[in-house]
């Protein structure tokens, strides 16, 4: 090796050491983008905290329990609102492709602040208090969710294929958008089907 080559070696080694020494400061200035995907999860579990045993055949004045939960993987603490809605087979569901929530009014709501990487869960105890079947229709006039009673006017027609009056209790996840300063539908919903038997 001649002197010129040694000089290049010295400079390369010196530069590498300088980069190592400057790295702590550089890492505080340069922000590297996170490679992970940002998303929220939403789930509904049965009364035993499992994905089974969901209430299905329901009767008036009987209490049923499910657990609704979610987790935040958005990279920051979030403010969620979970709307509880009830629909029959013909009423609209949310459209996740178009980011449009169901046009049905919420019966109840949950609000939660969830840190990044954390989960949140709440029990939902519901019962139908005033149910009146009439010919081929079934009317629900009042129901309670977590001991709060609501008046509503929801009817379901007899489904002759599946022999029942079907309702769907579903949960829409909304997220507070700090840029728009309002809640936005977060393209997540879960629900359970219920057959009103009496």
């Amino acid at each position: 090796m001649n002197l010129e080559e040694y000089r290049t070696l010295f400079l390369a080694a010196s530069l590498a050491l300088i980069l190592i020494a400057a790295f702590p400061t550089l890492s505080m200035v340069i922000r590297f983008p996170k490679s992970s995907e940002n998303f929220s999860e939403l789930w509904v579990l049965g009364p035993d905290h499992k994905a089974e045993g969901y209430p299905f055949n329901v009767t008036a004045n009987e209490a049923y329990r499910v657990f609704v939960g979610g987790s935040n993987h958005l990279g920051y603490s979030v403010y969620y609102v979970l709307y509880v809605k009830l629909r029959n087979q013909t009423q609209p569901l949310p459209d996740n492709q178009k980011s449009v929530p169901s046009s049905l009014p919420p019966l109840y709501e949950f609000r939660a602040f969830v840190p990044d990487g954390a989960t949140w869960e709440t029990p939902v105890v519901f019962s139908f208090l005033e149910v009146s079947p009439f010919e081929n229709s079934c009317f629900v006039r009042r129901m309670s969710i977590n001991d709060v009673v609501f008046s509503l006017d929801s009817s379901s027609n007899w489904d002759s294929e599946r022999s029942g009056f079907y309702y769907q209790l579903f949960f829409e996840l909304w997220l507070y958008n700090t840029t728009l300063q309002s809640f936005q539908y977060h393209d997540r919903f879960v629900g359970i089907w219920l057959n009103m038997t009496g």
Partner: protein, 159 residues
């Protein structure tokens, strides 16, 4: 009908109708107060959340603040339920309580954010000083090492 009888009848009608208008106006006022209390509470909770986010971005540990915000959110839901049930007194009570919790969160979030910013500034300063000292030492060591190496190299090649 004599004037005195007419006056008496008018008085009776007025006395019987007056409370209806008064109670209607009071109820309307109560409802307005409840609605504005809920709106104010929602605003305070959102502002508190934004302050907590700022503190989080500054590097503060905000888990305690989020727990308090969850308490405020639970109270806010109670206020909204009371409002839907038409219970103005309970609505205002819950909404005011929610606003109070939210305001406390805001104060704590500001304090935590300032503390986190100060700590981050100090950490950055000391890290930068460390880097500058290290880089200077490496440059000097390389230069001195290179001079010494060059001298020995010449001695070896000439000798």
């Amino acid at each position: 009908m004599s004037a005195s009888k007419l006056f008496l009848v008018s008085l009776v009608v007025f006395i019987s109708v007056f409370p209806i208008f008064v109670s209607g106006a009071l109820a309307s006022n109560g409802e307005d107060a409840a609605a504005s209390a809920v709106e104010r509470a929602e605003g305070v909770v959102v502002s508190a959340y934004q302050d907590v986010l700022e503190a989080e971005r500054a590097g503060a540990n905000v888990s305690g603040l989020l727990a308090q915000l969850n308490d405020a959110a639970g109270i806010l839901v109670q206020a909204r339920i009371s409002y839907m049930a038409g219970d103005s007194n309970e609505t205002v009570r819950f909404a005011d309580l929610c606003s109070e919790v939210g305001e406390n969160v805001r104060k704590d979030a500001h304090r935590l954010r300032d503390l986190a910013v100060k700590e981050a500034d100090e950490r950055f300063l000391w890290t930068m000083i460390g880097s500058i000292v290290s880089v200077s030492a490496i440059v000097c060591a390389t230069f001195i090492g290179w001079l010494a190496f060059k001298r020995r190299f010449h001695e070896r090649t000439s000798g």
